[in-house]
């Protein structure tokens, strides 16, 4: 690493997108999960609700990850869980980032009363304990995975909105934007042409962060019992395991409780790797103190 000294121009970084190695590891993990999610129905040896064998059978050729106390095949449940988790990451994560991005853009661009009202709402949402709020809303609105994703997006947008708003605020009054407006460019055109390209990376960083939070919430809500009863998820497998009184008196926890934990850990590790790498793109000054070595 070189120390930038006065008079030595730093190389332009804005168009040189080199993802640190750890970012590629993360991308590989995410792609792996996405592939599994797509082919999961073909891979799953049994239907999720099928009584496929004797209860609490250890891993074997008939059941690669054994069965639970009822006799459900746990590998099939875990594969179904991959789909639920990836749905959370994509739909809830993207939804959160889109809602947050749009609100941040609006607030930062128009300022004034729009900004004031939107940011007050954001502040209120940031103070409220949002998990209990989610629980109350979802018990009323329904526990389908689409509804859960929507509720997550509508409660967790303030983080993304705040980041975007600050970015837009600093761009709004730059001379090139003012000049474009002076030549008669409309708000929509200037936003698309001059603001969006600049905030693109920030939006990506917000998206990755939102996806991680969404997975944590979608699986966590399933763990609390707020999920689609017909669709097994990592959370519901964990709930079933921990609710089973004799779990720790046998070795059942090894194939029942441990696999969903490992799966969540791996997926979130992938998202964190990608997030750390993107974060570095956005803010190269971080690199000096981050966990990612300079390549």
């Amino acid at each position: 690493m070189t120390v930038a000294t006065a008079g030595v121009a730093r190389p332009a970084r804005s168009h040189e997108f080199r993802l640190p190695r750890i970012g590629w590891v993360g991308v590989a993990i995410l792609l792996g999960f996405a592939t599994v999610a797509l082919v999961a129905p073909a891979l799953a040896p049994y239907r999720v609700g099928a009584l496929s064998g004797p209860p609490l059978e250890g891993p074997g050729s008939a059941h690669l990850l054994g069965t639970n106390s009822v006799g459900h095949d746990l590998l099939s449940q875990l594969l179904s869980g991959v789909r639920v988790a990836m749905f959370g990451a994509f739909v809830a994560g993207t939804g959160t980032a889109l809602v947050g991005g749009a609100i941040g853009l609006l607030a930062g661009w128009w300022g004034g009363i729009v900004d004031l009202v939107l940011m007050r709402i954001a502040d209120v949402l940031l103070v409220i304990p949002r998990l209990p709020l989610l629980i109350v809303v979802i018990t009323y609105a329904g526990t389908g995975r689409g509804m859960v994703a929507l509720t997550i997006a509508l409660t967790f947008w303030p983080e993304a909105a705040k980041v975007l708003r600050v970015q837009v605020l600093t761009l709004r009054h730059r001379t090139h934007v003012t000049a474009a407006m002076g030549f008669g460019a409309g708000a929509w055109h200037s936003m698309r042409r001059h603001v969006l390209p600049e905030v693109g990376l920030v939006l990506v960083a917000a998206l990755v962060a939102a996806a991680g939070r969404a997975v944590m919430l979608q699986v966590g809500l399933a763990f609390l019992g707020l999920d689609d009863a017909n669709r097994a998820s990592w959370g519901s497998v964990m709930r079933g395991a921990l609710k089973f009184q004799g779990l720790f008196f046998t070795r059942a926890w090894v194939w029942w409780l441990l696999p969903p934990l490992v799966a969540i850990g791996l997926l979130l590790a992938g998202l964190t790797f990608v997030g750390t790498a993107v974060e570095e793109w956005v803010n190269p000054r971080l690199a000096r103190h981050s966990i990612v070595g300079r390549s």
Binding site: V127, P129, V136, Y140, F223, W253, I291
Partner: protein, 318 residues
């Protein structure tokens, strides 16, 4: 700032009031449909209708609801036929114990590790702490809790598996109670504090790093001040303000995290109450729990605000 908290309180109350009424149909129909096996008789429906003033205009209902809340009436539990306030009264102390313990541990640990990491920034200790904290940040609290449970209650049976005290235990002395409750508290509190550590660590570390380059630090060093004084009294003190701000901002998350951790350890706090409420679709219990936890978070936020204005009078003027 107090205005924001009042607004937030009003928003929470309005959501709880509006949600069942915004959905299509009658709130009592929703209640009947979801309540499962216990069908509600016509007299009960009529009684509930007048109790919640559902036969009156919406605006009257809202005022009626607010005055009910003002009197501390959170309604009756559907599944257990007890006042919601009584249920909460039984569960809240455990959550307060868990949250208080975990918050204290997390605060002390994150401050010490943050200062230590900044002091040796770029060195092995700093890098190790950063990796560890990033890992803790990535893992959801229920995963951390389950892993702790497996390692320290199953593989090495050092701590109890679940609950907050040994059932049917006869204590010989008050000390026995403390020991039993404390032993049951160790794992949940550790899990919760581990998931609350990382944000504050990063904030303290960054604030500390920016204060390390200041002139007064150089002067302090030139004066020959002991390292401890330099580290905590001159450097660390400047990290206190963002640190307290982060604690305030984190309270809401901490409450949510504690619900997850409690469900893993079957700890009898608000999380357990909410879990049972979800299973039985006990709306009044869920709403009451949300309002009480929300009020708790608001009070703690206000507390953080007051501490901050003590630490730095300029904050109060904002």
């Amino acid at each position: 700032m107090v205005g924001l908290y009042l607004l937030t309180l009003l928003a929470m109350v309005t959501v709880v009031f509006g949600l069942p009424r915004a959905l299509p149909g009658d709130p009592l129909v929703a209640l009947q449909d979801r309540a499962g096996s216990s069908a509600i008789s016509a007299e009960t429906t009529a009684h509930l209708r007048s109790y919640y003033a559902l036969d009156r205009p919406l605006e009257y209902q809202y005022r009626h609801y607010l005055s009910r809340l003002g009197r501390g009436d959170l309604g009756w539990s559907i599944s257990r036929n007890v006042r919601v306030t009584r249920l909460i009264g039984g569960h809240l102390p455990w959550t307060l114990l868990l949250l208080g313990t975990a918050f204290t541990i997390a605060a002390v640990l994150s401050f010490l590790t943050g200062v230590a990491a900044a002091w040796r920034r770029g060195r092995p200790l700093d890098r190790a702490l950063l990796v560890a904290m990033t890992g803790l940040r990535a893992l959801p609290p229920y995963v951390l809790a389950a892993l702790l449970l497996i390692v320290l209650a199953v593989l090495v049976p050092a701590f109890p598996l679940a609950g907050a005290r040994t059932p049917f235990a006869a204590y010989s002395s008050p000390l026995g109670v403390v020991g039993d409750v404390g032993g049951h508290l160790v794992l949940p509190a550790t899990a919760l504090s581990l998931s609350l550590l990382s944000t504050k660590f990063l904030i303290v570390r960054n604030a500390m790093i920016s204060s390390l380059g200041q002139d007064y630090m150089v002067l302090g060093r030139a004066k020959g001040l002991p390292v401890r004084v330099l580290k905590y009294r001159h450097g660390g003190r400047n990290a206190l303000l963002p640190f307290v701000a982060a604690m305030g901002a984190e309270v809401g998350f901490a409450v949510g995290f504690s619900i997850f951790v409690e469900s893993v350890f079957a700890y009898p706090g608000m999380g357990a109450l909410i879990l049972r409420g979800v299973e039985t679709r006990d709306y009044p219990v869920l709403e009451g729990a949300f309002l009480v936890l929300g009020a708790l978070v608001l009070i703690l936020n206000l507390g953080a605000e007051l501490v901050m204005s003590r630490l730095d009078p300029r904050v109060a003027g904002r």
